[in-house]
């Protein structure tokens, strides 16, 4: 168990390093930030002066080494645009995105998993077809469009929910639904497939031959077995929720890191973008690590092996 964990942590470190390296160089390909910072009509000399002051005149490799050095000292640097520490700028946005992703996850798990289980147990029935329609809608409506529809209907037409911003818990409802819909469908499909797969196994017939009802066999035996593939997907989906937040936050003017990332990319605010990506990828990696631990908790065969 300890060895499994140590191995996974090492993999996580290598993956994080890879991500920040790629983002560092890709951002530099996007152009020179100094050109966006100087006032219009500035002379070439002034531009060069500012560039030197910000350190962008140094060779890329030197800039990269300096960045890594700062990171090791846990110094995330200063925003070029806002002239404030990046840690604070990103940090104050993170709770909003976590609330949004958490709300979306609640929608996805709360609807997706039960829907998937019901579809599997009621295979071929009316209920399965009704739920399949819901799943199809969730997976095929693009977020930017379904978000606008939600705003039009619940915000503008019915006036039940605020159309944008993050002023109250009510503001969270629509963005969470818009962001969670795709993940909900993924969970539903995964849960359906893996429950169906387990239902066809001998141990289910054997459990029923011991007098268990179909639902008792499902709740006592099938769900645990079916959970393993679903946990894998769930871990990846939580990462995808953070990535998907970029669009939803833009549509709903939600002040999270997705919105911040878009603004910073447009302004070539390198360090902010790098920090946002570092955060998202760290969550992604952490979720995968959690999934590995979850397998061991669920499956005695994995516990025994390591």
């Amino acid at each position: 168990m300890i060895r499994l964990l140590a191995g996974r942590l090492l993999q996580a470190a290598v993956a994080s390093f890879g991500v920040l390296t790629i983002v560092f160089f890709v951002m530099r390909l996007s152009g020179d930030p100094t050109l966006l910072l100087v006032p219009e009509g500035a002379s070439a000399e002034q531009v060069a002066q500012l560039r030197a002051a910000l350190g962008f005149d140094r060779p890329l490799v030197v800039q990269y080494a300096a960045y890594l050095g700062d990171l090791l000292r846990l110094d995330l640097g200063e925003s070029l645009v806002q002239r404030a520490p990046v840690a604070g700028i990103v940090g104050e946005r993170i709770p909003y995105t976590l609330a949004l992703a958490g709300g979306a996850l609640l929608v996805a798990l709360g609807i997706g998993i039960p829907a998937g289980i019901l579809m599997a147990v009621h295979r071929g029935g009316v209920l399965e077809r009704a739920l399949a329609a819901l799943v199809l809608a969730g997976q095929s409506l693009p977020t930017f469009w379904s978000g606008i529809l939600l705003i039009l209907f619940f915000g503008v037409y019915l006036g039940w929910l605020p159309t944008s911003g993050a002023d109250s818990l009510a503001s969270l409802i629509m963005p969470a639904i818009a962001l969670g819909a795709l993940t909900m469908s993924t969970f539903a499909r995964m849960a359906r497939i893996s429950v169906l797969d387990e239902l066809s196994r001998d141990y289910v017939t054997a459990a029923r031959a011991r007098g268990l009802s179909v639902w008792a066999a499902v709740s006592r035996h099938v769900l645990r077995n079916a959970a393993i593939p679903v946990v894998t997907i769930a871990a990846l989906e939580i990462g995808n929720l953070l990535a998907g937040a970029v669009i939803v936050e833009t549509v709903f003017a939600w002040p999270g890191i997705g919105q911040l990332a878009i603004q910073s990319i447009q302004a070539r605010d390198f360090l902010v973008v790098q920090t946002v990506v570092l955060f998202v990828s760290s969550v992604y990696i952490a979720m995968n690590l959690l999934a590995d631990l979850a397998y061991a908790a669920i499956d005695p065969r994995i516990r025994g092996r390591s």
């Binding site: 196994r201 017939t205 459990a207 031959a209 011991r210 007098g211 009802s213 005695p300």
Partner: protein
């Protein structure tokens, strides 16, 4: 004595195909009845129909099942659940697959008692010892992957018998096990069934297993009963050509080395090929026009045996 289980004219269909046709047999308490036949002859679905655990595509088109004299054919599902695992149990061909990989041995057995394991732990430990599992105190908390196939089958037997059911349906319980373990499991089944007066329906395709354990035999061919009777008589003097050919195809130690194995020519007809006559006619050395035209009824051979052959008397 009243039979523990009576199956009467049981017919099962898959779509329009008639898989099992008017199958009937009865088993007395403490008796072992072997239901013998090759793969696909309908033995396993017959057992599933008795438990009413048929796959959704299959349906029962006729017949009844009587458990200790009570007709359970039309019982609602809730009442059937009360019987399963209590009055009638089942064990399976692949013991490891029949156990939930994520549940412990004790959990499975306690489930058959419908109580949480902590309430019935002593009873479960005692049952594990009874089915010949050494060190029950350790095994009770182990998972199926930590057990051998033979041990898993012992656990299944413990699950099936702990509630002292009147009927045990054993579907090829030793097919997946190696030969020495097979003999041990059969001995165990035989002993526990006799002690507890459990009626056993043993489904198998292995005549060796039949000779080892069965009191009576029902031979099935292509969804019908070919003949039934006491094991010794069936082996000594079959009253159906299929049974004689089946017995003749068992290799013997006295056979000359490298002699050709006896086979039954042809193959089992598929349900789509079933005609109006005897389903064995296409492979039968005694078949004539009567056999191809009409279904031979099960006839009483006056020695406690039934045979579904027009020419039963012609057999040596």
């Amino acid at each position: 004595m009243q039979p523990a289980l009576i199956v009467e004219n049981l017919s099962l269909a898959l779509g329009r195909a008639n898989l099992v046709d008017s199958v009937g047999f009865s088993v007395a308490p403490g008796e072992v009845l072997a239901l013998v036949g090759e793969s696909g002859c309908g033995k396993s679905v017959t057992a599933q129909a008795i438990m009413r655990l048929l796959a959704p595509a299959l349906r029962q088109t006729g017949g009844r099942v009587l458990l200790a004299g009570q007709d359970i054919t039309a019982l609602p599902e809730r009442a059937m659940r009360a019987l399963r695992g209590q009055a009638m149990s089942m064990i399976f061909q692949e013991p490891q697959a029949a156990l939930d990989p994520l549940a412990t041995v004790g959990t499975h057995i306690a489930e058959a008692l419908r109580r949480p394991l902590r309430d019935v732990r002593d009873q479960v430990l005692q049952m594990l010892a009874e089915v010949g599992i050494s060190d029950p105190a350790r095994r009770i908390d182990q998972y199926p992957f930590e057990l051998s196939g033979g041990m898993c089958q012992r656990v299944m037997i413990a699950c099936a018998l702990i509630s002292r059911p009147a009927v045990l349906l054993a579907d090829e319980p030793t097919t997946a096990l190696d030969v020495t373990i097979q003999a041990q499991i059969l001995d165990l089944l035989r002993r526990l069934a006799a002690e507890r007066r459990t009626a056993v329906v043993l489904i198998t395709h292995d005549m060796g297993v039949v000779a080892d354990i069965a009191d009576r035999v029902a031979v099935m061919y292509a969804g019908r009963i070919a003949e039934t009777g006491p094991t010794a008589q069936i082996f000594a003097r079959p009253r159906h050509p299929y049974t004689s050919l089946l017995l003749a195809s068992i290799p013997r130690l006295t056979d000359a080395p490298k002699s050709t194995l006896a086979v039954i020519e042809g193959r089992v007809p598929t349900p789509a090929e079933f005609g109006p006559g005897c389903r064995f006619a296409s492979r039968c050395p005694l078949a004539d026009d009567t056999c191809r035209a009409a279904t031979p009824p099960l006839r009483d051979m006056a020695d406690g045996r039934l045979s579904a052959c027009f020419h039963a008397e012609q057999l040596p």
